[in-house]
C-alpha cells in the first residue's frame, strides 16, 4: 500500500490545514450544494450548441456527406481534422492516470479524475466523426469482424483503419474501466453522506457496496497498478495507430516515418492544454484551489513545454525534409517553404504561432505560474493543434500530384455545426460530471495528506531543524 517519505523541501500538494474530514467536505460540496447561476448559464449555452450540432448530424445522415465541403481532391476535411483533434485531447487523461502512477508522481492525484473524464468525453466526440463520415451510419457495425451472410466478407486486418477501430474502442473502454474502478471508493464516500433517498439510491448503485476492507484495498491498489501498466502502452499505441492512417498512405506529406512519435507528443501537448483550460475553470468554480495548487499548474505547464519542444523538432524536421528532398511535390507539404507562402499561408502561420511561438512563453517561470496567461496560452495551443491537423489533412491534399485537380477546401455551415456541436456535447458532459461526480480522487488524496499536506510538511520541517 502506498506512502513513502517525502523531503520537506518539496512543495506541499495540499495547501491549508486540512484534516481527512476537510477533504471529504471539500470534494463532496459541489455535489451536495445547489448549482450556481454560472453553471446553469454554461449548461444552457452548451446545450444550445449540442442541439444545433445534433441537427447538423441528423441533416448529414439524412442527406449524405455531400452536405460537407469535401470535394474530389480534398476528400478528408474538417471531419477527420476534428476526429484527430479530439482523440489527441483525449490523451492527457490516461497519461496522467497511468503513466504518472507508474512514475509515482503524487501531484497527479489532484488532477487525474477530471483529466480522465475529459479523456472519455473527448473520445466520445472523436468517435462521432468517422462514424458519420461513413455516410450510412446504420451499417457502422460492419467495421467489426462479425460473421455475416454477405458471402465471406471480413474486415481487412492489413488496414490501419481497422487497427484504428481496435485501438480507439479499446482505449475508450479501458479508460472507462480505469476511471470507474478509481471512482468506486469515492462514490462510497458520497453514498455514506447522502441525505436524500434519491441520492442515496443512485450512489449506492454506483458504489457497488464498497466498504473499504483491508483486503479490498490491497486488491484495489494492485488492480490500479496493473491497469496503469496496461494503459501506459495503450496511450502511446492509440495515437501511433491514428498516425498510421496517414503514415501508411501514399499521399505526400503523410507517408512520413516521423508521424508516430510526433503524433503522440502532439497529442499529449494538446491534451495537457485542454486539461489546463478545464481545470482552471473547475478549480475556481468548485473552490479547489487548495488541491489544484500553483505547483500543479506549473508542473503541467512544464509538460506542455517539453511536449511542445518535441513537436517543434518534428516541425523543423518536416520542413527541412520538404526542402531537402528536392521533390516538387514535397515542397507543397503542410510544413514546407511552399506551404508558408502558398494559398494556405494563414493556416501554416496559425500553426507556427499557436504551437511554436506562443507556448515558448512557458519557458519563463513568471508566465507558467500565472493563471491568466496559462489559461490564454492553453486556449491558443488548443486552436494551434486544431490547425496542425487541418494543415496535415487539407494542405497536403489540396496540392496533389496532378496540378489540374488542385483546389481549396471551403467548409459548409454543416461542417461548422457538427464541430461546434461536439464542443457543446463535450461541455454538457463535463458540466454534468462536475456536479455529480467527485472531481478529485479523494481517497487517494487522503493517503498522501500526511506526506504532502502543508501542515504535516511544516511539522516535519521543524523536526528536521
Amino acid at each position: 500500500m502506498s506512502g513513502h517519505y517525502e523531503a520537506p523541501i518539496r512543495e506541499p500538494l495540499i495547501i491549508g490545514h486540512k484534516t481527512y474530514h476537510d477533504i471529504t467536505e471539500d470534494i463532496a460540496r459541489p455535489i451536495e450544494e445547489r448549482a450556481g447561476k454560472l453553471w446553469w448559464a454554461s449548461l444552457y449555452a452548451a446545450l444550445i450548441l449540442f442541439v444545433y450540432g445534433f441537427g447538423c448530424i441528423a441533416y448529414t445522415v439524412g442527406t449524405g456527406i455531400g452536405a460537407w465541403g469535401l470535394n474530389r481532391t480534398i476528400n478528408w476535411g474538417w471531419d477527420i481534422t476534428n476526429f484527430v483533434w479530439w482523440v489527441g485531447i483525449g490523451h492527457a487523461g490516461t497519461l496522467i492516470s497511468a503513466v504518472l502512477l507508474l512514475f509515482r508522481q503524487r501531484w497527479r492525484m489532484s488532477v487525474n479524475r477530471s483529466a480522465e473524464a475529459m479523456t472519455i468525453f473527448a473520445v466520445c466526440q472523436a468517435a462521432i466523426f468517422p462514424v458519420i463520415h461513413m455516410g450510412r451510419v446504420w451499417v457502422g457495425y460492419w467495421v467489426f469482424p462479425l460473421p455475416n451472410q454477405f458471402g465471406t466478407l471480413w474486415t481487412n486486418f492489413n488496414s490501419p483503419l481497422l487497427w484504428d477501430v481496435f485501438a480507439i474502442s479499446t482505449y475508450f473502454s479501458v479508460s472507462v474501466v480505469f476511471w470507474f474502478m478509481g471512482l468506486i471508493p469515492d462514490f462510497a464516500m458520497i453514498r455514506d453522506r447522502a441525505k436524500t433517498p434519491f441520492n442515496k439510491k443512485i450512489y449506492t448503485l454506483l458504489a457497488f457496496g464498497w466498504g473499504g476492507k483491508a483486503k479490498h484495498w490491497q486488491r484495489f491498489e494492485e488492480l490500479s497498478l496493473v491497469l496503469a501498466g496496461l494503459a501506459t502502452p495503450l496511450v502511446f499505441s492509440v495515437h501511433t495507430t491514428v498516425s498510421f492512417d496517414f503514415a501508411t498512405s501514399v499521399i505526400k506529406g503523410w507517408h512520413s516515418t516521423i508521424y508516430p512519435p510526433y503524433f503522440v507528443a502532439g497529442a499529449i501537448f494538446s491534451g495537457f492544454a485542454m486539461v489546463q483550460t478545464l481545470l482552471l475553470v473547475a478549480r475556481k468554480v468548485c473552490h479547489l484551489e487548495d488541491y489544484i495548487t500553483m505547483y500543479h499548474i506549473e508542473i503541467m505547464n512544464i509538460v506542455i513545454v517539453v511536449t511542445g519542444g518535441m513537436v517543434t523538432v518534428a516541425y523543423a524536421t518536416e520542413y527541412f525534409i520538404g526542402w531537402y528532398s528536392g521533390s516538387r511535390f514535397e515542397d507543397f507539404t503542410y510544413l514546407s517553404p511552399g506551404a508558408a507562402v502558398g494559398p494556405y499561408w494563414w493556416a501554416f502561420w496559425a500553426l507556427i504561432i499557436c504551437n511554436l511561438v506562443v507556448p515558448a512563453a512557458f519557458w519563463f517561470k513568471k508566465v507558467r505560474t500565472n493563471i491568466f496567461w496559462t489559461f490564454i496560452i492553453a486556449l491558443i495551443i488548443n486552436i494551434g493543434m486544431w490547425f496542425e491537423r487541418f494543415d496535415i489533412i487539407v494542405i497536403n491534399l489540396s496540392r496533389d500530384y496532378l496540378p489540374s485537380s488542385w483546389t481549396m477546401f471551403k467548409p459548409t455551415i454543416i461542417d461548422v455545426g457538427v464541430y461546434l456541436g461536439t464542443i457543446g456535447f463535450f461541455s454538457v458532459l463535463f458540466l454534468l460530471y462536475a456536479r455529480t461526480f467527485p472531481v478529485i480522487a479523494q481517497a487517494e488524496l487522503k493517503s498522501i495528506l500526511k506526506i504532502s499536506g502543508e501542515t504535516y510538511k511544516a511539522k516535519e520541517g521543524d523536526e528536521h531543524h
Binding site: M1, S2, G3, T19, Y20, H21, T24, P145, W154, N156, F157, N158, S159, P160, W163, F166, A167, T170, S173, V174, V177, F178, I184, P185, A188, M189, R191, D192, T204, L205, F208, G209, W210, G211, G212, K213, A214, K215, H216, W217, Q218, R219, F220, E221, E222, L223, L225, V226, L230, A231, P233, L234, S237, T241, F244, A443, E444, K446, S447, K450
Partner: protein
C-alpha cells in the same frame, strides 16, 4: 488476515467494533492485537493505509497473475481471429502483403493483437476484482459504519472475550467502542 468464522454456538460471542480517529493509532492498535495473538476479523479504512496489509498478515493478492492469464487469452483470440479471417477463410492479396502464411502476415496484425490483449486483461481483471470482493451495482454497503469512508478507521472483532479486547482498544487510543450480538 485470518478470518474467524464463529457460529452462533455460544450466546456470549459478540461483534466488537473499535473506531479510531487516526491511521497511525489504528496501526498501533493492529500491531498491539497481532502481538497478543488476538485475531482481527476485519479493518475498514477510508483510504489504503500504508503497511496495513503486512501488519494484518494478508497474503499477496493474485489479481495480477490473473491479469497475465487474461492477457494470454486476449493474444490467443487475436492470433486465431487474424489467422482464420486473413489467411484461412478468404486470403486476399492486399498491397502485396503475404496472405497465405500467418507468420509472414503477422507484422500487420500486431496492433489488433495488442489491443485485444489489453482489452481482455483489463476488463476480465476488473470483473475478477468485483466478483472476488462480492461487489455489484446497488450492493448493500459492506462497511458497518458510514464514517469509515470519511475520516474514521474501524477494527472489527468476533470474540467472546469482550473485556480483553475493549481494554486493549482503549489502551491504543480508540475513540468509540460498539458491542453487538454476533
Amino acid at each position: 488476515m485470518k478470518l474467524i468464522k464463529q457460529k452462533k454456538e455460544m450466546s456470549t460471542t459478540k461483534i466488537i467494533y473499535g473506531l479510531y480517529g487516526d491511521d497511525d493509532d489504528l496501526m498501533h492498535g493492529v500491531k498491539a492485537f497481532t502481538d497478543k495473538g488476538i485475531s482481527i476479523n476485519e479493518v475498514y479504512t477510508p483510504f489504503p493505509v500504508h503497511g496495513l496489509d503486512k501488519a494484518l498478515g494478508l497474503k499477496k493478492t493474485r489479481i495480477s497473475d490473473a491479469a497475465f492469464i487474461y492477457a494470454c487469452y486476449g493474444v490467443t483470440i487475436g492470433i486465431t481471429l487474424t489467422a482464420y479471417i486473413m489467411n484461412h477463410d478468404w486470403p486476399q492479396n492486399i498491397g502485396g502483403k503475404p496472405s497465405f502464411d500467418w507468420l509472414h502476415n503477422m507484422p500487420a496484425f500486431v496492433d489488433p493483437m495488442f489491443e485485444l490483449m489489453v482489452f481482455c486483461s483489463a476488463h476480465l481483471m476488473s470483473l475478477t476484482f468485483l466478483v472476488r470482493n462480492k461487489m455489484y451495482p446497488g450492493a448493500k454497503p459492506q462497511n458497518p459504519d458510514p464514517r469509515t469512508t470519511d475520516d474514521k478507521f474501524m477494527m472489527e472483532f468476533v470474540s467472546d472475550d469482550v473485556e480483553t479486547i475493549k481494554q486493549l482498544l482503549i489502551d491504543t487510543g480508540v475513540e468509540e467502542i460498539t458491542v453487538k450480538d454476533a
